[in-house]
């Protein structure tokens, strides 16, 4: 009986897709694979769960690729700001040779990535003013996830990067400990951050893919036919998840527009992108394996 880790609540696109994955996998393997999804991160944080998967404490999971970079350095390439042109570009890259290369790197660390899920694009939001150019961010405090790249990104844009636990962000936005944060539409909605930070500026600086993975230990116990069937079920569920996700994004955006948030479209992102040169330079310097991957992603049409 496989144990599945998931950070999202019941009914969320990822949750629904994961549940459909394990059901389909059970059908396709005549019950040789079966399992249960534990939602809401009750089995621990994502960092802990990655570690658990590596030693076989959990059998399958849906991870955002951001935190995986700490364990699998190559994966950090997707955390580079503006690396993907848009969500469709990200799909083409991940479903192609670059995605395969990242899967191989993860496999070496005990994580068998079966399919890529979506988490849309992340944009900045804040409680003070719309952001049209990097100058608008000057002096503002932005909460970022714990990763050098995200800290470097906000600093390169002139903001004050403040790493902070997700659970503290709402109160901090409300009271001004931080001025803003960044996330995708559904999270901006479900976290209620829109209530206290109503300027959502479409920088779309990060497009982070997610992975549906199985632990190498559980994977090794399957026959090649079962592996094939499970992989097929995963890829079908990814297709399903991407569709659900797109619907969820639309739903959240419409809801929040009705709730009175203010969206700022950014026609020309080049000022933001140009500011990223030092972030890229430092990332490549720290981790030379990123250079060829960056090239390949840029060359993917």
């Amino acid at each position: 009986d496989w144990k599945g880790w998931n950070v999202h609540p019941a009914g969320y696109p990822v949750t629904v897709a994961m549940e459909s994955f394990i059901k389909e996998a059970e059908k396709a393997t005549d019950g040789r694979v079966s399992g249960r999804v534990y939602n809401g991160a009750i089995l621990g944080s994502q960092e802990d769960a990655i570690q658990m998967m590596q030693v076989g404490g959990i059998d399958f999971a849906e991870f955002n690729l951001g935190p995986i970079g700490a364990s699998v350095p190559e994966v950090n390439v997707v955390s580079l700001p503006f690396i993907f042109k848009d969500v469709e570009h990200m799909h083409r890259v991940m479903d192609g040779p670059v995605g395969d290369e990242l899967s191989k790197a993860m496999e070496k660390k005990g994580i068998i990535s079966l399919a890529w899920y979506d988490s849309g694009s992340r944009s900045f939001y804040d409680s003070r003013k719309p952001i049209k150019t990097p100058e608008d961010m000057k002096g503002m405090k932005f909460r970022v996830m714990n990763n050098e790249l995200y800290v470097g990104m906000v600093e390169a844009l002139g903001g004050n990067a403040t790493p902070m636990a997700y659970s503290e962000v709402y109160q901090s936005l409300k009271t001004g400990v931080v001025d803003g944060a960044e996330n995708n539409w559904p999270s901006y909605d479900s976290s209620n951050h829109f209530e206290v930070a109503k300027y959502y500026s479409l920088t779309q600086h990060l497009i982070l893919p997610e992975t549906l993975s199985v632990s190498a230990k559980a994977w090794a116990k399957l026959s090649p036919e079962d592996q094939k069937a499970v992989r097929k079920a995963a890829q079908d569920s990814a297709e399903f998840q991407r569709k659900l996700w797109a619907e969820k994004v639309t739903e959240s955006r419409e809801k929040l527009i009705k709730a009175g948030i203010q969206i700022t479209e950014i026609e020309d992102k080049s000022a933001f992108q140009d500011a990223m040169a030092p972030v890229y330079a430092k990332a490549v310097k720290d981790n030379p394996t990123l250079a060829p991957l960056i090239e390949k992603i840029r060359n993917t049409k």
Binding site: K3, Y38, G40, I42, L43, G44, S45, D48, Q51, M52, V55, G56, G57, M164, A165, Y166, S167, E168, Y170, Q171, S172, K174, T175, G176, V177
Partner: protein, 427 residues
């Protein structure tokens, strides 16, 4: 079977007398082993259970409380309490309760209250002719004020256990009225027994003296305002507020009061480190234990069992309180907050109780558990300081239990008691 091993080993080890934290840890590790999960993950859960960012406020509150005690702030608060209410019949009993209210607002920990105030007040009370069991009873029962009146590290544990989404600042504010209400009831009981046993009365010290005592203790009282106000106003996060409160306490006691020597400072550091170790290892082990409970889906099953008993909120809430009281007798507060919140909170919210009101109810209920045998941190410390055998203290403590129970029922069934202040502040 795995669940039976988890619960069985925990029960066996606890009854035998293994420290509760390690009984929880051992039970969790055994269940990991039985399930064929890597045991290192069990220890990872213990470490992860205690290293949550929001929990960082706990060592800060504990440290600030120790600084208050060893830097002379507790003594000044007692002088203020003594000047204000000491003249009443059985005056030192009233002083004791009132001191707990003032000090509880700063220390954030009931056990810290007992050791701080008890070591100052119990000897004085005994010397003035109060019965020793009475001195211990008043000290122990009023120490729950430390949990109810902000700041309170147990409230932070609750917010973490509830999985975020609850504002610590609002919960802090919500505890004030129930805390004061409970102390009023305890004050009545203390007075009633004092009259029956014919305890002495202190002289009224005069308004001037009250004023002087107030001015002297004012910088100490500010600590609570910094911690709660800092978090409410948004200058700091709650965790930062705890750290700033501790830093402020160092500055005040060392440079304004000049009553904190380097030696006192180090004593405060060492004591807070020991308390932090005890509290946080319990939190970590309870985290690993709770992980296995979640894996066995115990919270889900228990919650549905609870709602199947009745659909009358009055009965369900009564039942919840009963279960918590029984558990509070045999387990420590921190562990119970982490284990019971995921079970009871969804049920309470489903019946229309606000998570903040539930939090206040949980704090008061489990606070009572700290005063009851066989596992009661406050009772142990109080009896040790007062040199009273636990059995004798318990024989005469029941009127105080009744006062706390009465306050608990008011909190449970009248939302306004806890919810008025926070909703007023938020609007």
């Amino acid at each position: 079977m795995g669940l039976a091993i988890l619960l069985g080993i925990f029960a066996l080890l606890t009854v035998v007398g293994v420290p509760v934290a390690f009984a929880l840890g051992m039970a969790a590790i055994s269940a990991f082993w039985y399930e064929g999960l890597p045991i290192m993950i069990g220890f990872q859960r213990i470490v992860a259970g205690m290293s949550t960012f929001s929990l960082l406020a706990i060592p800060f509150f504990i440290f600030a409380g120790e600084l208050m005690l060893h830097g002379g702030i507790a003594a000044r608060l007692i002088r203020l309490a003594s000047a204000s209410v000491g003249w009443m019949r059985g005056g030192l009993g009233q002083v004791n309760v009132f001191s707990s209210m003032l000090f509880g607002g700063i220390s954030g920990s009931a056990v810290a209250d007992v050791s701080a105030l008890g070591s100052l007040l119990i000897p004085v009370m005994k010397e003035k002719g109060y019965d020793d069991d009475y001195a211990v009873n008043v000290t122990v029962s009023s120490s729950i004020a430390g949990i109810m009146i902000p700041p309170s590290h147990n409230m932070i544990l609750y917010v973490v256990a509830a999985g975020g989404g609850i504002s610590v600042a609002s919960l802090f504010i919500a505890g004030i009225v129930p805390g004061i209400l409970m102390c009023l009831l305890l004050g009545f009981v203390a007075r009633w027994i004092a009259i029956r046993r014919n305890f002495p009365t202190e002289q009224f010290a005069g308004w001037r003296f009250i004023f002087v005592a107030f001015i002297a203790s004012f910088p100490g009282l500010i600590t609570a305002i910094i911690v709660v106000g800092g978090a409410l106003s948004g200058i700091f996060t709650v965790t930062e507020s705890g750290a700033i409160g501790a830093l402020y306490a160092i500055v005040i006691t060392a440079f304004v009061y000049r009553s904190l020597s380097l030696r006192d400072f180090w004593i405060a550091v060492i004591r807070s480190v020991k308390t932090t170790g005890m509290v946080m290892i319990l939190v970590g082990c309870a985290g690993a234990f709770g992980y296995m409970l979640a894996l066995y889906e115990v919270p889900k099953v228990l919650a549905s069992a609870l709602t199947s008993v009745s659909d009358n909120p009055i009965i369900i809430f009564l039942l919840m309180n009963l279960i918590l009281l029984l558990l509070g007798m045999i387990m420590d507060m921190a562990a119970l907050i982490l284990i019971c919140t995921p079970i009871f909170l969804p049920v309470a919210v489903g019946l229309g109780m606000d998570p903040i009101q539930f939090g206040v109810m949980l704090m008061m209920n489990l606070g009572l558990g700290l005063c009851t045998p066989p596992v009661g941190g406050c009772l142990f410390v109080g009896c040790a300081i007062g040199e009273v055998p636990i059995q004798r203290a318990v024989k005469s403590i029941w009127p105080f239990y009744l006062a706390i129970l009465a306050a608990l029922m008011l909190v449970t069934y009248i939302p306004a008691v806890s919810m008025t202040l926070p909703s007023w502040i938020n609007s």
